[in-house]
């Protein structure tokens, strides 16, 4: 089994409760953010020596939720400072970006890292479309076209042009091409049936996050496998990534206390301002083709918000506890979901650095030895 040390890079010191998205930066000291970047990058670099197989980050805009509007910047540091871990960008939000620029930056990271890029091609969460003024109703068609264009840009040695629905480039020949051939592994989200189809068709790693319970995650994975078989391939555990928040402490009680405090900040401060903006996009666009999918997304978020730490552990939504409990919870995910990849958010909300660091030590010394061979 492989583990992604995923860093959301949150802003942990927001004062008060943000009531709208985009969130004002009033009172935010960028010198403090300078220290945060240093600390977060060190955690990610160190994670390689703590038994994590991948180092991951992603893209978010305009809020304290994540200080990473362009994860490729962080990935380029990791490519340079680490030796063996995969650099998992999970991911660039393709519909918001210039796909040729993504192809180029991803290729540079793959080359700089010696062929260690995992290339996340994500659609993003609904409100992010406002940030770059992209029509949410075009999110899926943009994702499809951008994906094909990027693969073409990576794999075609001879210059070519592209005349598409959303993108027109009369002449393309990116330098350099990625080291990994035919191209780096692609990772996409397949949390619902709408997206599973395209992920399976692309033979990408499927990612599933915000798990409400094991049964619903299992259904999403089984659906993906069925669709993949229709496209002539059989996904293995290495094709299935499950995302979880994690807290490992010396005892179960300690871990639960840390997680409860960190999640309170996560839900009440980091997630809160996005709710009304998400609602706006879901109500006024065709971000999800079926209205029930949009409702499910909101319902899942509300369900997760309303649960205690104990209930979340029981449901399989988070991993939390002392080392022994965490090993059990990881084995349960492996056995019940058949996933070979875990995307672990180690810094949850405003979880203190020393708690994160202790969790990393416990992972290295007492968890990884028990689960790496699964």
């Amino acid at each position: 089994m492989k583990f992604n040390f995923f860093h959301l890079m949150p802003y942990p010191d927001f004062e008060g409760v943000p009531h709208e998205w985009p969130v004002s930066t009033h009172g935010v000291d960028s010198r403090k953010v300078h220290e945060l970047y240093r600390s977060y990058v060190e955690e990610m670099v160190d994670a390689e020596d703590y038994g994590f197989d991948w180092l991951g980050c992603n893209e978010h805009h305009y809020s304290p939720y994540g200080l990473n509007p362009n994860p490729n910047l962080i990935a380029s540091i990791l490519a340079n400072r680490t030796k063996k871990a995969k650099i998992a960008i999970v991911g660039n939000l393709l519909p918001l970006l210039n796909p040729i620029r993504v192809a180029e930056e991803y290729a540079v990271i793959d080359v700089m890292s010696g062929g260690r890029l995992i290339a996340g091609f994500l659609r993003g969460i609904p409100h992010e479309y406002i940030a770059y003024n992209i029509p949410p109703s075009e999110s899926r068609s943009r994702l499809r076209e951008a994906t094909e264009l990027i693969i073409k840009a990576w794999t075609e040695d001879e210059p070519f042009g592209w005349e598409g629905e959303h993108y027109q480039f009369p002449a393309v020949s990116i330098w350099p091409k990625p080291i990994q051939k035919p191209h780096p592994r692609i990772l996409m989200s397949a949390s619902n049936e709408e997206s599973a189809e395209f992920v399976a068709k692309s033979r990408a790693i499927m990612g599933v996050t915000l798990i409400q319970d094991i049964a619903s995650a299992k259904r999403a994975i089984e659906h993906f496998k069925t669709v993949a078989r229709g496209y002539g391939w059989q996904p293995t555990p290495d094709d299935i990534l499950v995302g979880q928040q994690i807290c490992i402490a010396d005892t179960d009680e300690e871990a639960r206390e840390h997680m409860a405090r960190a999640q309170a900040y996560f839900h009440q401060t980091l997630m809160r301002p996005q709710r009304s903006a998400q609602q706006l996009v879901l109500q006024q666009s065709r971000y999800y083709t079926g209205s029930e999918v949009g409702e499910n997304f909101q319902k899942r978020l509300a369900t997760l918000r309303g649960r205690t730490v104990e209930e979340q552990i029981e449901a399989g939504s988070i991993i939390c506890g002392g080392p022994q409990s965490v090993v059990k919870q990881i084995k349960r995910l492996r056995n019940e979901l058949g996933c070979g990849l875990l995307n672990l958010t180690v810094k949850v909300g405003n979880m203190p650095t020393q708690v994160v660091r202790r969790g990393m030590e416990l992972f290295r010394d007492r968890v990884a030895p028990e689960v790496a061979g699964l």
């Binding site: 009531h19 109703s137 109500q283």
Partner: protein, 258 residues
């Protein structure tokens, strides 16, 4: 669609107003220079019924003795709106008109549905901003593109009277602290429009309003001085019309479906 100039009898006296178009009512409150039938305002009459009262003493109208301060004029506007415009309507204010519109929305939160504040006056923090006295500097402050002025300027005596009335109504206030304290009570969804080349309204004013009006959004109109509707009529109308139609959802790009 053209405007008609009419008069209304209110408790304090007679007031002139322009009215044009049909559709959902919009109250337009003019700047210190008086009423200008800008292109956006004329365009708006295709979809809305626009009421544009003339503050007594402006544009050659006679003063009303009891209207001596801004708060008196706000009361007059509220009465005018209640009688002629309706129980609930949208409001667009420009500069001085935005100041009046803010008071209206603060005093009568249920009256105002969508509120658009163009280059809002009333918040000259640190004495920044304001109209230059020198005529050339004043022209530059008002227009980034004076060549886009379509109507000839108003006669000097009208402009002088407008200026005098404006000064009398605002009473030398640089920062309206009382209004500032009431911004949080504004219930209307609010759009604040600022010109990137506007030296009259300092950027701090827009930031202050954005921070304190609960449901507000702020947009900078590029390459526009204080008279943003003259400098960038298409951009301003696009913003007006999207905001009046979709409220806070105007930020959502609707793509080909639009």
């Amino acid at each position: 669609m053209s405007f008609e100039l009419k008069q209304a009898e209110l408790s304090a006296g007679r007031i002139s107003y322009h009215v044009g178009g049909s559709g959902k009512p919009v109250l337009h409150l003019h700047p210190a220079g008086g009423v200008t039938m800008s292109r956006p305002l004329q365009e708006l009459t295709k979809t809305h019924q626009v009421f544009a009262p003339v503050a007594p003493g402006f544009d050659g109208t006679g003063p009303i003795a009891s209207i001596t301060a801004l708060s008196d004029y706000v009361g007059l506007v509220a009465e005018f709106a209640g009688r002629l415009v309706g129980d609930r309507f949208d409001v667009i204010g420009s500069s001085f008109g935005s100041w009046v519109a803010l008071w209206l929305a603060a005093r009568h939160p249920k009256m105002v549905d969508h509120l658009i504040l163009e280059v809002p006056a009333g918040f000259r923090f640190g004495g920044k901003g304001g109209l230059p006295v020198d005529p050339d500097e004043r022209m530059k402050a008002l227009y980034a593109h004076p060549e886009r002025l379509e109507a000839p300027g108003k006669p000097a005596e009208i402009m002088a009277a407008n200026r005098q009335t404006y000064e009398r109504l605002i009473g030398g206030v640089m920062v309206d602290e009382e209004l500032s304290a009431r911004l949080a009570s504004i219930e209307a969804v609010t759009l604040i429009l600022l010109g990137t080349e506007d030296p009259v309204v300092p950027p701090e004013a827009g930031a202050h309003l954005k921070r304190h009006i609960p449901a507000s959004q702020r947009v900078f109109v590029y390459d526009a001085a204080h008279s943003i509707a003259i400098d960038q009529p298409e951009r301003v109308f696009r913003l007006w019309s999207a905001f009046l139609e979709r409220g806070p959802g105007f930020v959502l790009n609707q793509g080909a479906a639009a």
